[in-house]
Subunit: 218 residues, 2 copies
């Protein structure tokens, strides 16, 4: 396997799609999968599947395909999912509640360590069987529960201040759902998911009248 | 300007970031912006900014930079945002409610045409000042309100059936928030936004200990 850092960004973005398809296949008792079947299940074309997986050093076996459980292990290791990652959600509005109750959350390498808000009327309330905690306690929550990733679901106006507080508290990565660009030190990777950005990208492909869009672009 | 179809996928994904930064600059009364300033505001490096914008035929002026309003117009046209796009949200759970009340929604080329659910206990209730309508009326809503884009926010188990109904109703594009791959005809572009996919991609970069992540990957 090449050093993880050498894997192209577009390949990294498709690995979770393969993983999802492989886990489904495994749950259905399938032990091997051809690149065509994996392509179909993940919505990626089969040449790209083969090229992506060759980046991981997995080439499959001619006439047999990929060994499902072996490939699940390899992708999980590359993505850093073999150890549990405690996650906090900061900002418990509609979006934060939706994320907190998201079913697939804990199944795939992550656990929900805390729900955090700054609003006194929300602190102490229950969301999905969990008590909302105070932003004032962020640093101790992050330290004591070994939290490495934060999901930022605050309003835009609060996002930068919360991101700063998260960095100060020792968070290693931020998934930002606030509709604003947040600035953090280069060592802390940030992924921003913004509804209007997604809609605008989709709009581009829609106006091409049936232009094809790789599912990885999502 | 080259045909839109020739613009690389990665460039298309960054255009909304530039647009957001340019609109902010315009609102602050800024009439020109250097590629460095645009890079800083959008979180992309300046060489990439120049290369991306050259794909649109925009090169800026040496010592002056890009004309903000001109570039807003060009990017808006490429993304198909110069005409209003009515959008429906299907699935009014926590996520659907969050998306429905999302502030930036209508500011950037889209309007909310309807909120739709299949659950009789939700139909007729008000969310953000709008009445939730029945999935049974999907076809007439799409036709009468000229809806082109649907946001799919149903549980995973319902997603494929709703996607089929959306395609039958004449939807041109789908933004899928359900944690499952949906299969639709090739002429209908789909973007899937999945929390665990995003977390897994972020996990990859986090474990590189400060590996840099282009914001476009979000």
């Amino acid at each position: 396997m090449p050093p993880s850092g050498r894997i192209p960004e577009a390949t990294v973005a498709r690995l979770p799609l393969y993983l999802q398809a492989l886990v489904q296949a495994s749950e259905q008792g399938t032990s091997t999968l051809s690149s065509e079947a994996l392509a179909q299940a993940s919505g990626v074309n089969s040449a790209k599947v083969r090229k992506d997986l060759s980046q991981l050093g997995s080439y499959g076996t001619r006439g047999v395909g990929y060994r499902v459980d072996e490939l699940i292990g390899e992708i999980s290791e590359v993505l850093g999912l073999t150890r549990d990652r405690p996650v906090v959600i900061v900002g418990i509005g509609n979006l934060g509640r939706a994320l907190a109750s998201y079913a697939g959350f804990t199944r795939r390498g992550f656990s929900l360590a805390a729900l955090i808000d700054a609003d006194p009327s929300k602190i102490g309330t229950e969301v999905g069987g969990r008590t909302v905690e105070s932003l004032d306690d962020l640093a101790s929550i992050v330290a004591e529960r070994h939290v490495s990733i934060a999901v930022l679901a605050t309003p835009a106006a609060a996002a930068q201040a919360v991101a700063d507080a998260l960095v100060d508290a020792g968070i290693n990565a931020i998934l930002n759902f606030a509709p604003v660009h947040v600035t953090v030190p280069g060592r802390v990777p940030v992924r921003t998911v913004d509804l209007s950005t997604e809609l605008q990208i989709l709009s581009f492909y829609e106006q091409l009248h049936g232009g094809r869009l790789g599912p990885t672009a999502g």
